[in-house]
């Protein structure tokens, strides 16, 4: 056999790092036994990802699994030589063990930029305070953790992306965290404990996604925010005394999000918005908004009014999605009058796509559809999907009748 040139070992270091980073950690470490040149090449990989595939432990015994995993990570961390930019720990069987504290301490001495920790089982894992001393952190992702930053915590100076899911932290800690991370661009918050009123004060924030149980969301100084998704998972309590307060939530919402482009108000949030004074129109239009998706209970007058007001203020909408959220009500009174306004003369000049789902054919819903159809001169497609066990010929007949402002419009009825 002629001696072929060993080409791969002579690739530049950063390219080899890249190749090894793409490999699962197991294969990357195994390359240490390839040849003398490769012995320590793996130890420079900047990404360490320990997930369920990295150590397929077949035993059923929790302790063995844990010990094995701990030993693997200990070994790798100890043998690793070089900066660790990304560290991800997400093994299915890893409980919130105290070894994680040790690893976080080790990482805090370096310059980790991305840290992902997912505790799949067990209690919320309480993060050690050394996590809050990660100076170079750019992306932080936590699942099933408890955060308690020390009082001297000055925020993550470089943090751009924060993703918290199933976390517990106090309101104050949260506010401090957000306001002190000045570069924060993306914030995702799902299923949290301990937060009731979310105040988001983040001048660089561009993407915000929250889903959970809370009372209120308010924005402050968030002029760059372009994508917002808010989902309130629990029904708002119908407290008549609290609502009808002087200031309108919708207005305050609107004022702080002037450049928003994509908005999603899911589950019960629209109802939350509706529990305050509802203006008939907003002072200025949301000119940048081109996509809106709301969960709405068409049979509720307040919600429909809020939605109507919302839609009227977005002249440049390109896509609308409205998902019906039927609620059990004592009386379903036929509602009319929310979806028509003779004073409103403008049109949805850019609206091309509309999706309506979960409806049952009540008057209010049909009014809404009629409103949209007759005010969208360039509409291309409207998809209507009734709720399960609803729909039928009556609905279709009504849909057929509506006047359409757009000659290109297709109204597609989909099976429930």
């Amino acid at each position: 056999m002629d001696t072929e040139l060993d080409r791969i070992s002579s690739l530049p270091g950063h390219v080899l790092d890249q190749i090894l980073s793409v490999l699962p950690i197991r294969d990357a470490v195994k390359t240490s036994s390839l040849s003398s040149k490769w012995r320590y090449k793996w130890s420079h990989i900047p990404h360490l990802v320990f997930d369920t595939q990295c150590a397929s432990i077949t035993s059923e015994d929790q302790t063995t699994v844990k010990n094995k995993l701990v030993s693997i990570i200990d070994h790798v961390l100890l043998l690793h030589n070089g900066p660790i930019y990304k560290f991800k720990l997400s093994h299915r069987d890893l409980l919130g063990v105290s070894d994680i504290d040790r690893w976080i301490l080790h990482l805090s001495r370096g310059s980790t930029k991305e840290f992902v920790l997912e505790i799949w089982k067990g209690q919320r894992y309480r993060l050690p305070s050394c996590l809050f001393s990660f100076e170079n952190l750019i992306h932080l992702e936590l699942f099933n953790c408890l955060l308690k930053p020390p009082s001297a915590f000055k925020g993550f100076r470089n943090l751009k992306s924060l993703h918290l899911q199933h976390v517990t932290l106090s309101l104050e800690a949260f506010e401090n965290l957000i306001s002190r991370c000045a570069l924060l661009e993306r914030l995702t918050l799902m299923n949290f404990d301990g937060l009731t009123h979310l105040k988001i004060n983040a001048p660089n924030l561009q993407f915000f996604d929250v889903g959970g149980v809370f009372d209120d969301v308010s924005f402050e100084n968030t002029l760059l925010l372009t994508q917002v998704t808010i989902a309130l998972y629990e029904n708002v309590k119908n407290d008549q005394n609290v609502c009808r307060r002087s200031s309108s939530k919708l207005l305050s919402f609107f004022v702080n999000l002037p450049h928003i482009r994509r908005l999603k108000l899911h589950n019960y949030f629209l109802k939350n918005l509706a529990m305050s004074k509802i203006p008939s129109t907003l002072p200025k239009s949301w000119v940048d908004l081109n996509y809106i998706s709301i969960h709405i209970n068409f049979n509720d007058f307040e919600e429909s009014s809020v939605a109507f007001c919302l839609l009227k203020s977005c002249p440049n909408l390109q896509e609308i999605e409205m998902l019906g959220r039927p609620e059990e009500q004592a009386v379903v009174k036929p509602l009319t009058g929310c979806w028509g306004d003779d004073n409103w003369k403008s049109l949805f000049g850019q609206l091309r796509q509309v999706k309506i789902a979960g409806i049952s054919g009540t008057r209010s819903e049909l009014d809404c559809i009629k409103f949209l159809l007759s005010n969208s001169p360039v509409l291309e497609q409207m998809t209507v999907r009734p709720a399960p066990n609803e729909g039928g010929l009556e609905l279709v007949k009504e849909l057929l009748r509506f006047r359409r402002a757009s000659i290109l419009a297709e109204v597609i009825y989909m099976e429930p």
Binding site: T3, E4, L5, D6, R7, I8, S9, S10, L11, P12, H14, V15, Q18, I19, L20, V22, L23, P24, I25, R26, D27, V29, K30, T31, S32, S33, L34, S35, S36, K37, W38, R39, C54, A55, S56, I57, T58, S59, D61, T64, K68, S71, I72, H75, V76, L79, Q206, N290, Q318, E319, Q350, R352
Partner: protein
């Protein structure tokens, strides 16, 4: 300033060229858009003003060979967006670069206002284009590893990051899941680590001295086998006639050149079959019957088993395999059972059982040595055996599908189990889980596994090991036994099975 120049020039000239000099001295013209796709050429052209004429052609860095350069040009030609405007601005280039890195997010956030207002239509166009790029990319990196490495190197020196990413991923895919030997072979890496160094921290096998020992021995064995193979190539012409005595057979086995196919018939015996390692055709076959119809044997066997256990600890030379039953039917001696022959005639149609030998691992070589063969086999039987062998050889030599058909047609209860193991591994039956050796890399041997479920044998799978080896790495379970995972191929089921060594 040069951007403005370019912006002005563009509408006037339909196509402009850049002069580039490749390593072999040849100077060629390359379309401007295509060449400018490489940041390094772009820099040279814009900042240093090179490439505008034949005299000051841009010279390529050393790592870019002419062949690679033409490949890279193909890549650039495909990936540059067909010019939608005549104005070439830096914003436009930013757009192209981010697009081509398949980061559509960048498109939304960072692209200029001009693009934002174009709306969704443009995005969908981009998306479909992106999909085309993906398939182009996949086809593009289908080349041998040597060229792939060269391409990576060339792309890196031209600072063409998307291509570097693409080729790195392709190289990583090649490395992933393979054993070190395979990787060494693919990339022609010198095997210059000592055994101890090789055993240093690999993730799963760090502490246990037994595993280290095993690894060492496996490696040694593999080396020996390779050498023997080389020798065998020289002797390949010799004719192999199947009329050796069983003694010869056994010594041949002990020589470590055989592959044993072990199949178990029912309680009284099991059948052992051998194939060679060299080459991929059956070198020679012989069936050896094991049975345990005599009590004496049992006790002898038991002793042997104990011995085997000890021996295994110090020298799992793994040449031959046996299966071994717990309690009732221990198997180790050769014995003849006429009833067996009858059954064997319908060779593949026997009921098979795997042994359940939870604690014992075999040192088969030693075992064979101990077996009293001579008093068990008589000439008549030998003839029978030879006939069976030929029969079996014919069957095994036939095509897979036909074999499958045969097997499948033979009803549920009577299905064969053939466990083939190469010289490197020890086979041990364990309840419903057969076991396998560590590396099959050299083999192209079909393996049938019959798994025993609670209802008896009603399932059988097959692993067809092609030249692409399985990646098997030993691991420890809670009792300290060594486990490996074997993936069953699709024939009838596809689940993970755990096999004990």
């Amino acid at each position: 300033m040069s951007e403005v120049d370019m912006a002005v020039i563009k509408p006037e000239m339909m196509k402009s060229y850049i002069w580039i000099q490749t390593l072999d001295g040849a100077i060629q013209q390359v379309e401007q858009e295509v060449a400018m796709f490489c940041p390094m050429i772009c820099q040279e052209a814009i900042h240093k003003g090179m490439g505008s004429s034949k005299n000051c052609a841009v010279s390529l860095p050393q790592r870019v060979s002419p062949a690679m350069f033409s490949l890279i040009l193909d890549y650039c030609r495909f990936h540059q967006v067909p010019g939608r405007s005549n104005k070439v601005s830096t914003q436009f280039w930013h757009f192209i670069c981010s697009l081509l890195a398949l980061h559509l997010e960048l498109l939304v956030h960072r692209s200029s206002r001009r693009w934002n207002s174009r709306g969704i239509g443009q995005l969908t166009l981009v998306c479909s284009f992106v999909k085309e790029r993906k398939s182009f990319d996949e086809k593009f990196v289908r080349m041998d590893t040597k060229r792939l490495c060269e391409l990576t190197s060339a792309a890196d020196s031209l600072q063409l990051k998307p291509l570097v990413d693409l080729t790195s991923r392709a190289l990583a895919r090649i490395i992933e899941g393979k054993t070190p030997e395979e990787i060494r072979e693919i990339f022609h890496l010198p095997d210059d680590l000592t055994e101890e160094e090789k055993l240093e921290p690999l993730k799963n096998t760090t502490d246990d001295p037994r595993i280290r020992l095993l690894n060492r021995l496996y490696a040694k064995k593999r080396k020996e086998l390779k050498e023997r193979e080389k020798l065998k190539d020289v002797e390949a012409e010799e004719d192999h006639v199947d009329d050796r005595s069983v003694d010869d057979l056994l010594s041949f086995i002990n020589g470590g050149e055989v592959l044993l196919v072990v199949s178990n018939l029912d309680d009284n015996y099991c059948k052992v079959e051998c194939e060679s390692l060299a080459g991929l055709k059956p070198y020679w076959k012989q069936e050896i019957f094991f049975s345990d119809s005599k009590g004496i044997k049992t006790s002898k066997n038991k002793k042997k088993h104990r011995k085997r256990k000890d021996l295994q600890k110090c020298a799992p030379s793994n040449e031959a395999i046996e299966t071994h039953k717990k309690e009732s039917n221990t198997v180790s001696s050769l014995c003849h059972n006429v009833g067996v022959d009858q059954k064997l005639k319908s060779s593949l149609g026997e009921t098979l059982k795997l042994q359940d030998a939870a604690d014992e691992v075999f040192a088969p070589t030693v075992e064979f040595d101990d077996v009293d063969i001579d008093d068990e086999i008589d000439p008549a039987l030998k003839e029978e055996i030879d006939r069976e062998v030929e029969d079996f050889a014919r069957i095994l030599n036939s095509d897979w599908p036909e074999r499958m058909q045969e097997l499948l047609s033979l009803g549920q209860e009577r299905r064969p189990t053939h466990l083939s193991v190469n010289g490197n591994g020890a086979l041990k039956g364990h309840g419903s889980m057969p076991s396998f050796p560590l590396s099959w890399a050299e083999m192209n041997i079909p393996v049938w596994i019959l798994s025993q479920t609670a209802n008896g044998w009603n399932n059988f799978d097959q692993i067809v090991i092609q030249n692409r080896p399985l990646s098997l790495t030993p691991e420890l379970d809670e009792t300290g036994e060594i486990f490996i995972h074997v993936q069953r191929q699709m024939f009838l089921s596809s689940e993970w099975h755990f096999c004990r060594l």
